[in-house]
Amino acid sequence: MKEFQRYLLDRIAAANSHTLSVYRQQGGYKAIEKVLKTPLKPEDVITVMKDSGLRGRGGAGFPTGMKWSFMPDVTKDPRPRYLAVNADESEPGTCKDRVLMERDPHGLVEGCLIACYAMRAKAAYIYVRGEYRLSYDRVQAAIDEARAAGLVGKNILGTDFSCDIWMHKGAGAYICGEETGLMESLEGKRGHPRPKPPFPAGSGLWKSPTTVNNVETIFNAPFIVERGAEWFKSMGVPKSTGNFLCGISGHVNKPGVYELPFGLTARQILDEVAGGIWKGRKLKAFFPGGSSTGLMPASAIDVVMDHDSVKAAGSMFGTAAMIFLDETASIPQVMDVTLRFYDHESCGQCSQCREGTQWLHQMFHRIARGKGKREDIDLLVSLANGMAPGKTICALADAAAIPTLAAVKHFRAEFEQCVELGRDPLAPTHAPAPELQGAH
């Protein structure tokens, strides 16, 4: 793997990297100063973001500059405008935003200021999942420090730009990480996703124009503004620029969160970054971007890790949360656990999702316990096709159906074997973990 430039996790090596003074020593708040003192027009900031080619890091990979430009014309729409930062990082496998919030919270604050300036938003709301206590405390402390230093609030840096940043703690529902569910939750309601249209840019928080961005996406903004779109485009591949945070977990020697450029192959990441599969075993399968993305077999390990290449290979880049499974892993067991999660987290609005996630979970559970029937495997495919794509209000049904379809496609023989033998030959020998009763 050739050398590459790092910037996302550059600052966190320093002691007390989460404080304002250390952040400033490392060149922090220079980007917002550049924006406000030059001064750049909000449209110019959006243009830079568009030129940089930055794609959203929350999973869908939508171009960020374009998303920002969807906010209605301020001269024609007098409603207040908001930025909502999605820090409800709950996708199984994903753990990247946590590092940024715990270790470099001022980077997020500065990113919020730039985004709010570009979109003329009067406030940013950072929606942090409730389990991320340290993240919440660190970002809140950073906002307080910045506010005391005149960097958040009224007349920032003595200019007439005013912007507030507020924190909101989630209560532990995966669905509140869906952008419209997040907005409902922020408004104090049940986190039930809203049907689109209307899209958030037209009618979001409190029926006002709103943009929802992922933490890492916002975190990229100060770097792009300060160093320019050309610098950003020099990293990565043409259609997926910059670096991304890769959260590696599963049966590897060195799990963790790594900053990587787009364009490496999954094999490079596994062997050169994650230290290979543990215990000298072989790779069996991997999720390229979190549990909602289609499981890929070991034969796909040479896929290039960028949005378009992974999609062409039949899966999704997602949040780059790579989960590696070694040869001892039982795919029926993996799917049982995965679907248990989606069954538990479906909000329950749409019929297909509410009933379908439960149904799929029950079937995977049965197959993994050796009680499957031959016709179950085709039924899994048929049910998953009935749930997705795009048949429900939000993408949670898709998130359950996609890995189901991929698992059956690539590992049908293993499911058939479980059915034929009446037991799972790869089932763990230790007692299964007790079902969590009454967990939220």
């Binding site: 538990h344 329950g348 509410r354 009933e355 439960q358 096709n385 209000i393």
Partner: protein, 516 residues
């Protein structure tokens, strides 16, 4: 859902409300036909307005669309020849030139899939479910579903009979979480009482803090429930709905006169009043006071063949040995004699009499040379800002328009005490005047009562049974001038003649030469 327009035009004597300006419409194509659609309404409305049946569970025309059940999927293209996709019709706005197809294999397949998921945990207890026969899930499963279930998983076990107060029972297993009931309390009564509790497949409908439901509009949630999850306590296990005859009628419990359907078991016994869509009066709703007011119209006969203390069938006059049953003809002759002998008999009408009956009464009074008045009790405390007016007189406006003056019960009783003959006409007139007070009147008051029930009154000279408002046809005029129709939902008991005919025959008797 069928939408019955206001069945009769407004009465000629009141100015009809100006027709609302026709909303600007746009042209779309539904199943090959070019139709006009209201751009403010979702696509499903345009389909329903054209009589195209698009199934729905969470959508209800009286509530905001949420698009959660996903059963209303249709195939939509932006224009002819454009690529099409399947969308939920209740959350899709109409756009000019849109091409909508409800009857394609893709649309049917999507709906079949959706139904299969809905039926995954739905108990198949249709044989003991009160909703069977008018259940949307049952109907669409028959139309669109597959014959055989593919699930071998255990169904959800939840509470089968959870009381939500005096009116409603919830069966959590049957519930398909359409949230219509939740939105009803949020959007119609503006007093939220229900919520979806729990997440995903563990969701249930619940009241806040498990408090029982309150208010006068709870029954509506049983009507709008698309399955048998919410049932009315008084209607549970009372009738199979396919044995109920349905008759268009008008509610009698206040001057709003909500349009209703009277449902009678095999055309005989009234089992249910349900609201009927009327955009000018009650929309889709009615109050519980009106909904459960079918008990008075099914009054039992008096015990042991007596005359007083229950439903009055036929006619009776006071003879030497007290009240005696007589033929209607002879009773009318007696009454005519009594009225002619009296100087200025007092004539009081019930506010329940129809326009037709009131006209007959006016002719009779003209013959007697007196002016009738109608009994007008004080407003009750049921008035709210939704439907109930608090005025217990269903035909107050109609009687006023005919020139009949109102009289309060207390004033009427004072005049009755001084009268030497009085004619009390119409359903419930005795109870509106107060039966106990009537019983204290001196025998000289010589009451002739034309009511549904007979009471043991010392002053009662003659009593003639009349039909209740579900046993007759006619018109009432509501507080806003809209005409409400009454139709014969159940036959009046043998021996009870229509009141209008009785009054006209009485007039004939009054005109005829005296019998003796």
């Amino acid at each position: 859902m069928s939408q019955t327009p206001n069945p009769a035009p407004s009465s000629a004597s009141t100015p009809a409300p100006a027709p609302a300006p026709k909303p600007a419409t746009i042209k779309i194509q539904v199943d090959g036909r070019e139709v006009e659609a209201d751009p403010k309404q979702p696509l499903i409305r345009a389909c329903h307005d054209q009589g195209v049946d698009v199934p729905m569970y969470c959508y209800h025309p009286g509530l905001s669309p949420v698009g959660s059940c996903r059963i209303c999927q249709v195939e939509v293209a932006a224009g002819p020849g454009q690529p099409s996709r399947v969308v939920a019709a209740c959350r899709t706005p109409v756009s000019p030139g849109m091409v909508v197809q409800t009857d394609t294999p893709k649309a049917h397949e999507t709906r079949r899939e959706c139904l299969e998921f809905l039926l995954k945990n739905h108990p198949l207890d249709c044989p003991i479910c009160d909703k069977a026969g008018e259940c949307d899930l049952q109907d669409y499963s028959f139309n669109e579903g597959q014959g055989k279930g593919r699930s071998s998983e255990p169904r959800r076990k939840l509470e089968k009979r959870k009381s939500l107060g005096d009116v409603i029972v919830l069966d959590e297993e049957r519930c398909i979480l359409c949230s219509r009931c939740v939105r009803f309390f949020q959007e119609v009564t503006h007093k939220p009482q229900l919520t979806v509790s729990g997440l995903g497949s563990r969701s249930t409908i619940a009241t806040f803090a498990d408090k029982p439901l309150s208010g006068n509009y709870q029954g509506n949630i049983a009507d709008i429930c698309p399955v048998g999850a919410l049932t009315l306590k008084p209607f549970r296990f009372q009738a199979r709905v396919w044995n109920l005859s349905k008759t268009l009628s008008t509610c009698a419990e206040c001057s709003r006169g909500c349009s209703i359907t009277v449902e009678a078991l095999r055309g005989k016994e009234v089992k249910r009043f349900r609201p009927r869509f009327n955009p000018q009066v009650n929309q889709h709703w009615m109050c519980d006071v009106g909904r459960f007011a079918y008990a008075p119209v099914t009054q039992a006969l008096p015990p042991e063949g007596g005359i007083v203390g229950g439903r009055l069938v036929g006619a009776a006059i006071r003879g030497y040995h007290g009240l005696e049953r007589v033929e209607l003809e002879s009773a009318l002759a007696e009454v005519a004699d009594l009225l002619r002998a009296a100087s200025k008999p007092l004539v009081l009408l019930s506010p329940f009499v129809t326009q037709e009956e009131a006209r007959a009464a006016l002719e009779l009074c003209a013959g007697l040379g007196v002016a009738p008045r109608f009994v007008s009790p004080a407003p009750n405390n049921l008035k709210d800002d939704l439907l109930h007016t608090g005025d217990p007189c269903p035909n107050r406006r109609g009687l006023s328009e005919l020139g009949v003056a109102a009289i309060e019960p207390a004033a009427a009783l004072a005049e009755l005490a001084a009268a030497n003959a009085a004619l009390l006409v119409g359903e419930r007139i005795q109870s509106l005047l107060d039966v106990a007070a009537l019983a204290k009147l001196p025998a000289t008051a010589r009451l002739v009562v034309l009511d549904v029930a007979a009471h043991d009154l010392a002053a009662l000279s003659a009593a003639i049974g009349v039909p209740t408002h579900v046993e007759k046809s006619g018109q009432w005029i509501n507080v806003d001038g809209h005409v409400g129709v009454l139709n014969v939902a159940v036959p009046a008991p043998a021996g009870v003649a229509p009141l209008e005919r009785t009054l006209r025959e009485l007039l004939e008797h009054c005109r005829a030469p005296a019998a003796r």
